[in-house]
């Protein structure tokens, strides 16, 4: 007679340490679990709902005495952000405690441009008072409250923007012309001029540090190389470009924020057409900044909202707005890609989460796994009608509110977005829906 026995080798089944897990064998035969797909669908639905429920992106606000005109992040220090306002006040904010760490007094007019060197030790500011000031950013524990400028340079024309090279010691200012400066010299190293119009924004390419792009009030975007003495290329848009951002992970691509409420992504090598048009804003886009991951960018607009787009998405992924929030003049993505900071006309810097429903703080491994699983499920079932509806429009109750708002707003012929946002119940998704409805309804009404 033959007897079958279960035999296991001790080598495989002995634990090395007492806290090692015992090996467990499971049969993953799908026949044994006929409901797996249904289970996952329900989980995806729940994950989508939870995303809406936990979607509270606003973290806090930091107040100035005037409208915020420009910001600069400290590339070497995660929680430091410089903000300049219309009254010439520059402050270094500590994002974690949301308190002013330092003040940089000196500008008489509005501060138009701010930038910090890559090591975060130097700050350059320029403004409508025709002055460029250079500051040394004080170390953490020095006690004095305000900082004196290290150096300044006065010119004939007002300055409109400044940006620092990544890892180099050069920075560029724009205004009547484009000047390239050095930290050591007191006069511009190089000046470019192409056309007579005022240049309003400048941005260095972080991946390819010699390259910079400027936009001017003659609707042009111009590319320069600091190594050469001449500009490289000019692109004329249909509307003025307010700001430009380079994709930090793809040095050939940049996105321009335009006056017509759209953003245009371009490939440097093929400038005859935009690779992508990002639409959604209802008014001029004032500022744009790429996420350090290169997969997203944030825009701030004159329609009082902040939006987050995917680098290849035609429509925004997220829209942020709070009560009493005014026209947004500047936006920045934090250096770790998990926060967004916006500065607006209502004297406030606002701190937002980049992912509205993200859980902050240290996550346990199991929590982390769970979040990943939820994300994956949402991504997998996002095409199914129920999940899609929740992901796009949020949970049901808001729906009706929005319809009311929308009908009202067209009767009263106010700015559509204002009213929508004013009556919103707090979740951000409502806005998206509102704007979409309003844009589609505009066609219907006219």
């Amino acid at each position: 007679m033959k007897v079958k026995t279960i035999s296991r080798s001790t080598d495989e089944f002995t634990r090395e340490r007492s806290n090692d897990l015992q090996r467990v064998f499971r049969n993953y035969d799908p026949k044994l679990r006929p409901q797996e797909k249904a289970v996952e669908y329900v989980r995806a639905l729940n994950a989508a709902k939870l995303e809406k429920i936990f979607g509270r992106p606003f973290v806090g606000a930091m107040e100035h005495n005037e409208a915020i005109s420009c910001m600069a992040k400290n590339p070497n220090h995660l929680k430091g952000i410089f903000a300049g306002s219309e009254d010439g006040d520059i402050r270094l904010w500590d994002i974690t405690s949301r308190r002013t760490v330092r003040k940089f007094p000196g500008h008489r007019g509005a501060v138009r441009g701010l930038t910090a060197s890559t090591d975060g030790s130097r700050l350059v500011s320029c403004g409508a008072d025709c002055i460029i000031r250079r500051w040394t950013v004080p170390v953490e524990d020095s006690s004095e409250d305000s900082v004196k400028p290290e150096d300044f340079h006065i010119s004939k024309n007002a300055y409109w923007g400044v940006d620092h090279q990544w890892k180099g010691d050069q920075f560029a200012t724009v205004g009547a012309q484009v000047d390239i400066w050095n930290h050591t010299s007191n006069a511009p190293v190089r000046s470019f001029q192409w056309g007579t119009d005022t240049v309003i924004s400048v941005r260095f390419n972080p991946g390819h540090p010699d390259l910079l792009a400027t936009s001017a009030s003659d609707r042009s975007i111009t590319l320069y190389d600091v190594k050469t003495t001449i500009p490289i290329k000019k692109l004329i848009m249909q509307t003025k470009t307010n700001s430009i951002a380079w994709n930090p992970m793809e040095p050939m691509n940049f996105t321009a924020a335009n006056e017509d409420g759209n953003c245009y992504s371009y490939d440097l090598r093929k400038l005859n057409e935009a690779t992508m048009v990002h639409t959604d804003h209802a008014a001029a886009v004032m500022d744009i900044d790429y996420s350090p991951t290169g997969r997203e960018f944030v825009t701030g607009s004159y329609d009082r909202t902040v939006r987050i787009f995917r680098y290849n998405g035609g429509h925004s992924r997220e829209i942020y707005h709070t009560s009493r929030m005014q026209r947004v003049f500047c936006v920045k993505f934090s250096c770790d890609a998990s926060y967004v900071i916006s500065g607006s006309d209502d004297y406030n810097l606002r701190l937002w989460k980049a992912m509205a429903s993200e859980q902050l703080g240290v996550l346990l491994p199991r929590e982390k796994k769970r979040h990943e699983y939820d994300e994956a499920l949402k991504n997998r079932y996002k095409h199914l009608p129920e999940v899609k509806r929740i992901l796009r429009f949020g949970l049901g109750t808001l729906f009706l509110v929005c319809i009311k708002v929308y009908t009202y707003q067209y009767e009263s012929s106010f700015s559509p977005l204002l009213l929508c946002t004013g009556l919103d119940t707090g979740t951000t998704r409502g806005h998206t829906w509102c704007t979409r409805v309003s844009s589609s309804a505009q066609g219907h009404w006219r």
């Binding site: 993953y28 679990r33 000019k234 992970m249 040095p251 048009v277 890609a337 994956a376 079932y381």
Partner: protein, 918 residues
């Protein structure tokens, strides 16, 4: 671009020129030159305009040129008019003068001439182009070409004949004469005389004079090289130059950008990009942290000075052997140390032994004495030493706190509670005593020891000057206390002595002698007097002391409020039986609530205790009753529906379980309602079913069957047995019938047949009436209606007239939720999409090793880690993509698709919006 094209076109022309005689080529090129000169003058007019101008005033130009232009014009606009002009023989025209008669013979082929000029038409256009791009550079190149032609010709001759080029000078000059005819066209060569006189002065001419000089060969070589090399271009206008520079720079930067392409492509195609690598946590080792340490305090500095002593450091740096030298200790020191330690050890040992011995002693009296001793010394210490007093006070305080917290002596122990429950009266004397003793101990322990505390606080207070008075007061109080005690002792002693003296009258010996007795008596009396006096004194002083001390005591009482000393102390031992009175406790410091409880126990009677309990219970009961009633009611409810539901399984004794049950009950109730509804549904459902059952007998099925029957028999042919064979072969499976049946089933399912009306005996009517009348008419009517409706529904179906088709009209709304209406965007085929969501990704359905990879997000980053922009590194495009097989395959395809097709979609929109300017 234009230039290269131009050159490309030029070359064939040159070839042609070469084929021709030199004179021909010359004329051609000169003509070209003249045109170019035109072009050079001032702002350029459009061709048509210029033609007009030239036609209007031909006199401004030389005749020959005019003619030339005419001919050119003819070429420009291939019009009839100009053709006509061209056909005028050249000799007749005013050009005559230009052509040497001799050369004329050689060169009279008007049609040939025309042919040659045709390409020059292009030239003109190209020149126009050139102006667009702003190159007079190109003109220069033409000059150069011309020169080149000369040079080539000469070189050719050289090559052929093997003679030096100078040998052909004459020939060339001769040729030049021909060429010279062309020159007047140009503004640079206005006079014919110069040309006739031998043309331009060439470099060869100049060199000719140097022929015999040394170094001529070298010079000639250089000259040859110069001839070969390009001529230096004239500087372009800045605008054009900049434009070209910009173009070049853009080209370069484009090329620069190309290097990023593989890197970016790899990142885009990767299923996951990671931004959480190599975080620098700073120091990691203990040594690294320690090296940063700087001594700050005195002690640390001292240590540092020793550790970083030069000698020691040096010794460390060397092999370390010197450390031993530094460590040397003298013999005496070591010995002394050894002795000291030995002594200490022996002392310790003895002490230990003694302690052990004492501990072993079991005698109770000894221990009692020991305790007494200890107390005495403690008391003495408190009197003598303020420090010790403080300590004592602290100890007392601690004990008090402990007692107040634990209530150890508050009849809380099992034993005490049991006794109290039984009643104190019942107990024997010993137990009662024990209980009272315990309470007393509690009272003692919990009493506040104010004097100690005050004394300690005042002595510990740092403000000596301000507290001096207090200290004085306190010390006086102490003194007074002590003094009174001393006095008391003294009086006692004196009294004792007095008594003793009375008792101790010796009866025998010397003292018994009479004179001795007398003497003693006298002395005694004197002593008694003295003693009395002393007693009086004592009393007086006692009184004196009492008054102020009493006053002060009262003061202190007033200030502290609770202090109770002497009196209570004295009374306590006196009245053990009186303890039950309130006075004692009123005086004592115990808290009010404690007091109250104490009172209860002091009242001490069982009855009262019981009463209290009853009250408590009563107070509780009203709360409990409703609960109980609720429970009961629930119980009832549970019991009542019990037989119907499954919840009668067990009724538990404890309330918790009852509660559970009650909850269950609620569930049951909630469940009950749907249950109650269900039967109705069932009835509704059953009716049509029954009707169907009835119906099936009658009409519809019969029809259907008819239909099938009519379909079924196929006409048989007398043809070979083939078909028969086939039929035999497939005799078993009648496909069509199967299909019909299937269709019927589906029809029945989607449009169910109405239920047959059922006659329930005794329901509605008496059975005999039912038997007589059959089904009631309304039932039949209803049934008829339902049947008709079904027929209509079946007729309306899309597949009503299609025998071989089933079109399902059943729309499952629940299933609809799980389907997409259209194919989602990145997917191109249904199969691919279905594949992508076929396998589950959850941890329950996949092994732990795979779950992580399946669920990994596209971007992995750590909050709080700064992400730097991309940095260039070489990418091997053929290398294996690292990582995660599982998720890789699936997501990659999606990604690449989205990347590829998305921009294309948007192209048109984008094009409309922007306009390019270089």
């Amino acid at each position: 671009m234009v230039e290269t094209k131009r050159k490309g076109r030029d070359e064939p022309k040159h070839n042609k020129m070469k084929k021709q005689k030199s004179s021909g080529s010359k004329t051609l090129s000169t003509k070209k030159k003249s045109k170019r000169n035109d072009a050079r003058k001032g702002p350029r007019l459009p061709n048509s305009l210029r033609k007009e101008v030239e036609r209007l005033n031909p006199s401004t130009q030389l005749n020959s040129e005019d003619e030339d232009i005419n001919s050119d014009e003819g070429e420009f606009l291939t019009d009839d008019i100009y053709e006509y002009e061209e056909k005028i023989p050249q000799e007749e025209s005013r050009k005559n003068r230009r052509f040497d008669p001799v050369e004329n013979f050689e060169y009279e082929l008007p049609e040939d001439f025309e042919d040659e000029n045709v390409p020059s038409d292009d030239d003109e256009d190209e020149d126009d182009d050139l102006m667009d791009n702003g190159g007079n550079k190109l003109e220069d190149s033409h000059d150069e070409i011309e020169e080149d032609d000369d040079g080539r010709h000469v070189r050719m001759l050289e090559g052929i004949t093997g003679m030096p080029s100078e040998a052909f000078e004459g020939n060339k000059k001769k040729n030049n004469v021909v060429i010279s005819e062309a020159y007047p066209e140009s503004e640079y060569n206005p006079t014919r005389d110069v040309l006739d006189g031998g043309g331009r002065i060439s470099m060869e001419d100049l060199l000719g004079t140097l022929q015999k000089k040394p170094g001529f060969g070298k010079l000639r070589k250089i000259m040859d090289q110069m001839k070969k090399s390009e001529a230096i271009e004239a500087p372009l206008p800045t605008v054009i130059r900049e434009k070209m520079e910009r173009q070049a720079a853009y080209k370069i930067s484009k090329k620069d950008m190309a290097k990023w392409e593989p890197l970016v492509k790899r990142n885009r195609e990767a299923p996951t990009i990671y931004f959480d690598e190599d975080t620098d946590l700073g120091f990691s080792t203990v040594g690294a942290i320690a090296s940063e340490f700087e001594p700050r305090t005195e002690f640390e500095k001292k240590m540092a000075s020793l550790v970083y002593d030069d000698d020691v450091m040096e010794a460390h740096k060397k092999d370390g052997s010197r450390l031993l030298e530094l460590n040397q200790v003298s013999m005496e020191d070591e010995k002394e140390r050894h002795n000291r330690i030995a002594k200490m050890r022996s002392l310790l040992f003895r002490h230990e032994m003694k302690a052990k011995h004492i501990k072993k002693i079991k005698s109770k009296t000894y221990h009692r004495l020991l305790k007494k001793d200890r107390l005495k010394t403690a008391a003495a210490l408190t009197e003598m030493d303020p420090e010790a007093a403080k300590e004592q006070a602290m100890k007392q305080e601690f004990k008090r706190a402990e007692e107040r917290m634990t209530l150890k002596h508050k009849n809380t122990s099992k034993w005490a509670t049991r006794i109290l429950q039984r009643g104190l009266q019942v107990q024997d004397e010993g137990t009662r005593a024990a209980i009272t003793e315990q309470l007393q101990q509690h009272a003692l322990l919990t009493r506040k020891m104010n004097s100690m505390k005050d004394g300690s606080s005042s002595s510990s207070s740092s403000d000596d000057t301000s507290d001096e008075d207090d200290v004085d007061e306190d010390s006086s109080v102490l003194k007074e206390g002590r003094a009174s005690k001393l006095l008391g002792k003294a009086t006692e002693k004196t009294l004792k002595i007095l008594e003793e003296e009375e008792d101790e009258v010796p009866d025998s010996g010397i003292f018994s002698l009479p004179f001795m007795e007398r003497g003693l008596k006298k002395r005694k009396e004197a002593a008694e007097d003295e003693a009395k006096l002393a007693l009086q004194e004592y009393e007086v002083s006692m009184k004196q002391l009492d008054d102020p001390s009493g006053a002060e005591n009262s003061k202190i009482k007033a200030s502290s409020g609770r202090r109770v000393f002497g009196a209570a102390n004295i009374r306590a031992p006196e009245s053990r039986d009186v303890i039950k009175t309130d006075n004692f406790y009123a005086n004592s410091d115990s808290d009010d609530d404690l007091e109250a409880k104490e009172n209860i126990f002091d009242m001490g009677k069982d009855g009262s205790c019981d009463m209290q309990k009853d009250v408590h219970v009563d107070s509780v009961l009203p709360h409990e009753f409703p609960q109980d009633s609720v429970f009961k009611s629930f119980d009832d409810i549970v019991r009542d529906p019990g037989p119907k539901t499954t919840y009668d399984v067990a009724i538990f004794a404890s309330d918790k379980w009852r509660k559970m049950e009650s909850r269950n009950k609620v569930d049951a109730n909630s469940k009950k309602s749907p249950v109650a509804v269900e039967p109705e549904y069932n009835q509704d459902l059953q009716e049509p079913v029954k009707e169907v059952g009835e119906n099936s007998d009658t009409e519809s099925e019969g029809q259907m069957v008819d239909g099938i029957i009519s379909l079924d028999p196929k006409p048989t042919y007398e043809l070979p047995s083939q078909t028969e064979l086939i039929r035999q072969a497939f005799a078993g499976d009648d496909v069509e019938e199967d299909f019909e049946n299937d269709k019927q089933e589906i029809l029945n399912e989607e449009n169910p047949e109405p239920e047959k009306p059922v006659l329930l005996p005794g329901w509605g009517q008496w059975t005999r009436v039912q038997k007589k009348k059959g089904l009631p008419s309304w039932m039949l009517k209803e049934h008829e209606n339902a049947k008709r409706k079904r027929e209509e529904a079946l007729k309306k179906r899309k597949d009503a007239h299609l025998k071989h088709v089933i079109i399902s009209e059943k729309l499952d709304k629940k299933a609809e939720k799980l389907l997409t209406k259209t194919l989602p965007y990145p997917f191109t085929s249904k199969e691919v999409f279905e594949q992508s969501i076929r396998m589950p990704i959850g941890p329950e359905f996949n092994p732990a090793t795979a779950v992580g990879a399946l669920n990994r997000p596209a971007v992995v980053k750590k909050p709080g880690v700064i992400i730097k922009p991309i940095e260039f590194k070489e990418v091997n495009p053929h290398e294996n993509k690292e990582g995660h097989k599982w998720s890789g395959q699936k997501q990659k395809t999606k990604k690449s698709k989205s990347d590829g097709s998305m921009p294309r979609k948007k192209m048109k929109k984008a094009e409309g919006k922007t306009k390019k300017v270089n």
